[in-house]
Subunit: 374 residues, 2 copies
Amino acid sequence: MVAGKRRAPSIKDVARKAGVSVSTVSRYLNGGRNLSDGKRKVIAEAVKDLNYRPNTIARALVSNEFQSIAVIATDISLYGSMQLVQGIELAARRRHYLVTVTLVGNGHEMVKETVDQLIQNRPVGCIILDVERSSLLHSFAGYIAQSLPTVIVDEADLASGSLLIGAYEGGYQITKYLLRLGHKTVFHVSIPENGNKYTRSLGWRRALEEVGAPIEEPLSCTWDFRKAEQIGRYLCSFPEVTAIFAGNDEVAAGVIRGILLEGKKVPEDVSVAGFDGNPIGEVTVPSITTWRQNFQGIGAKAVERLAHWPDSDDRPEANGSKSGKVDDGTHKASEEEEPDLDQLQQSRAMGDEQVSSRLIIRESTAPPQSGRGR
Amino acid sequence: MVAGKRRAPSIKDVARKAGVSVSTVSRYLNGGRNLSDGKRKVIAEAVKDLNYRPNTIARALVSNEFQSIAVIATDISLYGSMQLVQGIELAARRRHYLVTVTLVGNGHEMVKETVDQLIQNRPVGCIILDVERSSLLHSFAGYIAQSLPTVIVDEADLASGSLLIGAYEGGYQITKYLLRLGHKTVFHVSIPENGNKYTRSLGWRRALEEVGAPIEEPLSCTWDFRKAEQIGRYLCSFPEVTAIFAGNDEVAAGVIRGILLEGKKVPEDVSVAGFDGNPIGEVTVPSITTWRQNFQGIGAKAVERLAHWPDSDDRPEANGSKSGKVDDGTHKASEEEEPDLDQLQQSRAMGDEQVSSRLIIRESTAPPQSGRGR
DNA sequence: CTGAAAGCGCTTACAG
DNA sequence: CTGAAAGCGCTTACAG
């Protein structure tokens, strides 16, 4: 089945077949500037006949840059991270980058090993996901950034310019919505660790502050959603709890379950809202009000940041394109620059507010019962 | 922040610093056979001082093999695929492979482009996920297999030797379980497309055949889980429907919602079981009986298949190790072979039945109400 | 045990 | 517009 060690045709083979020099073929491959139509044609033919593809590895060796984006995460098994990865991949491939995924766990030594190896692969840049969940990885962010353009996708620190933020607005809006419904205040069950740092939590707090609503410290959940169930049971024993904002949809589901198991009703007795927009919330009973995050957009934005990194080759320049694209047959030079602009445009359009992030109102939230919530 | 174009130390730098030839350093890096202790020591020191890491790209150029595993999928946003990717990454990194993720959508031309580029990266092998959901990708599987060791992780065709199967047993067991509960038969709502080919469906069918239970053709759901809700509504209008096996947990949630919305009860009126073991099923109301798939194990197994590919360099050989590991400080040659054996062992232990796949019984299933189901 | 040389597939100045 | 040469960082025979 496998072609084994049979090497693919090289630029030499193309040159020989086309009767030109290797340099000329290379020129053809890189934009076709300064090339007679005759050569262009004969090379195009040879490329096609041989089904030639430039060896990306060799290119990477010369340029000291492998056209890839390295994603580093502690875990990609949650809805959000997974969507982010998907968004990164989609955006990356538009730019002909390959996406690499590396999970780092515990053990300082291993992380350094892993990270060093990654750096040796010379990706165009690195995207770190969910640092908040691993202080270890977080501590390596700086180390990585020393060698590679690095974007941290997280929402832990609103102040830091190096982070991509998406959730503050969502936390704010969802809390406002609950308040508008007539709830005196909104309780918060945060996703694991650093509940006070997540921007969704900051948005929640801000919304409460604005109207002078009482603010209880968030209850912190774990990734074991049965903990959310316990929290739900606990919270609904307080009559003043009429509205709960959960850090994500799974936690919301757990909280709802806890409430229901206590014999109370959602949303009649307690309203519960989730976060992220996990499709599962559409078919639970009750279905879950949530803030849909545009994860794919955020992923794409991270990629664009790397693509437009200040020190990179991205600066508008008139010489050869680096796209590494091979034109089979019809050769259309000078189209190379356009995608860049498109992307930039798109990146800007996304701004800091994600295009299609929005509140999705479902069954789990409603006005407080009369006589309650005050 | 970024070190820009400053090149990392190369093997030349190490050689110069250590006062030996490049070949000698290379020998050191590749296992240290035929090396005097003196040289070994001085090189180790230079490596450490320079914080040298061999350039994986250069290595890949020489060996015509980049130490990576390419995952190709149409979508990784479902629980199962995501777990698979995670399992692949974990296993791959134990072997010092980098994992690459590529999503292929529609458009024949683009897929060929993408796949060709991937092949040019010369990964050690390729893992194709979920072919069943994209006949397009499926049609490329053969093309890819011509150039690379390829493993298809899917469950579409029990007969084909090239597929990794995991779900037949699960479908069988979960159906048996429902039957043992006293249900006369079990209806099946399959995940999208080719419901008849999924092995979980085959297992379901086999279990029914064994006891001569009536077999209704599976109802096919889509990835929009509201469709599952409709199916649930529809199915529970038939009194003979007392047990439903859904193709996955999200579909089960949707089916359950449909049933509840019709005013029936789960599991009192209808039992519903899911599949996969998505943690969300733990906190829905009712919580969902399911078959937990050992996705990570399957992913690891796919990686091991590639690592032990017949034509690869894996065959036991006494010469240099290819592990690409740099020993900083303490140099322990000859330890290189051991991981291989470990892994092999583990791979075999996993066999065709996944280690920790098992039935998880929760609230959504129960014996049929008396007077029903017969 | 050790080093000089050639080569992996490409790109990049440098001459024409 | 075109080609010969050098070089990217490593490994692999080949001589000693």
